[in-house]
């Protein structure tokens, strides 16, 4: 039913950007700063912006809660995430390390920009890897390699190549013990006595 789709409750529980509620929830009256155009779109000064999932509205709604003990506005969360630079991807690969020496890494890479392209083997200097990721560079490690333009807020465009390794959570003792037990069970099953 349409009325359910647009109810306030429904919007509170949705997984999209919060700001969409401000615009879509049928609040009466136009936002301030609207300049109507005779056709096409209206210019809405208070309409969307990138990163509005962190709007002040959310903070207010959450902290006031249903028990009503908190004051109406207690926290001022910045309304949007403002990145310092903008990265325009030209080409992106996902790679897996297949060999590593003191100076070089060998990897198989898959083109994520053109998934139909065949896998390729590449060799690159270990210097290309950020120091904080070098500890992760070992056979089997997965990384993302992007080439593109970085535009600074000052308008400077720089061609950039970045490598970032996939990070997986540290194994807990419990998980290690469980894995050991499973390995032992398999071993018992497979090894003839």
């Amino acid at each position: 039913m349409e009325s359910e789709i647009f109810s306030t409750k429904q919007f509170q529980e949705e997984s999209g950007n919060i700001q969409s509620r401000v615009i879509d929830s049928g609040e009466s009256g136009a936002p301030e700063g609207i300049s109507p155009f005779p056709s096409g779109f209206l210019i809405a000064q208070n309409a969307e912006s990138l990163g509005e999932s962190f709007s002040e509205l959310q903070a207010k709604e959450t902290v006031t809660g249903s028990n009503g003990h908190s004051p109406l506005t207690v926290l001022n969360i910045p309304s949007q995430f403002v990145p310092t630079n903008r990265f325009q991807v030209l080409q992106k690969w996902e790679g897996e390390i297949i060999g590593i020496s003191a100076d070089e890494c060998r990897a198989v890479v898959r083109n994520m920009t053109s998934p139909e392209a065949p896998e390729e083997e590449v060799t690159f200097s270990i210097e290309e890897i950020s120091e904080s990721d070098r500890v992760l560079a070992m056979p089997g490690a997965v990384f993302y390699w992007s080439v593109g333009y970085e535009d600074s807020l000052q308008g400077q465009r720089t061609r950039k190549s970045t490598i970032r390794f996939r990070r997986l959570p540290t194994w807990t003792k419990k998980e290690l013990n469980k894995a050991r037990q499973e390995a032992q069970s398999l071993r018992d099953l497979l090894v003839r006595k």
Partner: protein, 213 residues
């Protein structure tokens, strides 16, 4: 139509969370982010009911009923997914019911005429004639229900506030489950479908902007 001038993506989970956990030190201790990133993280607020901090490429905001992480850097779409998989691999018993895999894009339009034309194509003004003097499209949301996995795709289109003249397109891939192991089901979708949803968002934009107007 070329690639978006600006883009971003976010992953939102609706459920029950303990915001206090989500601090840079926790991410560092669990190898979820680079140690240097955690040390340099800009903390906006750490509170029992809200946690919010950002690094150079991502922002995390966790409320009692909502977890959201986002990046405005297309280079980091996959690390964003891995981060969420890592977090909820550790917090595997978190009660979660819904997930949104969202994408935002700002496209530059070649001219004001094209910009108006696109608005006209989406929302013809004829039905409004006689009742409004200068009707103009402010925002449009189209929803397409999905049976499997349960949820919907919602596309919102507006005039871009960042680019003039420009179009803003936001795609919300919404998933929701009831019953047991919801988090596990959602994480499988995230793991297997993230790249697909990013590509699907591109296709939606390409399809709409590629029309005649």
């Amino acid at each position: 139509m070329g690639p978006p001038e600006m883009t971003g993506s976010n992953i939102v989970l609706v459920g029950s969370f303990n915001p206090s956990i989500f601090q840079p030190a926790w991410f560092k201790a669990n190898n979820l982010l680079r140690p240097q990133e955690c040390d340099a993280a800009k903390i906006e607020l750490i509170h029992p009911e809200i946690s919010s901090f950002s690094t150079e490429w991502l922002k995390i905001a966790v409320f009692l009923n909502r977890f959201a992480v986002e990046t405005a850097d297309a280079h980091h779409f996959e690390p964003l997914r891995d981060l969420v998989l890592g977090i909820f691999g550790l917090l595997e018993h978190t009660p979660v019911s819904k997930m949104g895999l969202n994408r935002q894009m700002h496209f530059s339009m070649p001219s004001l005429e094209k910009w108006h034309g696109f608005g006209h194509m989406l929302a013809p003004k004829e039905p409004w004639k006689g009742i409004m003097e200068e009707p103009g499209l402010l925002s449009m949301t189209m929803q397409d229900p999905r049976k499997e996995p349960p949820g919907y795709v919602r596309v919102k289109i507006e005039s871009s506030k960042k680019i003039k003249p420009g179009i803003y397109i936001e795609v919300n891939n919404h998933y929701e489950f009831e019953g047991d192991n919801v988090l596990q089901k959602l994480m499988i979708i995230l793991k297997n479908s993230w790249s697909e949803t990013i590509n699907f968002s591109d296709k939606i934009a390409e399809h709409l902007l590629g029309q005649e107007y």
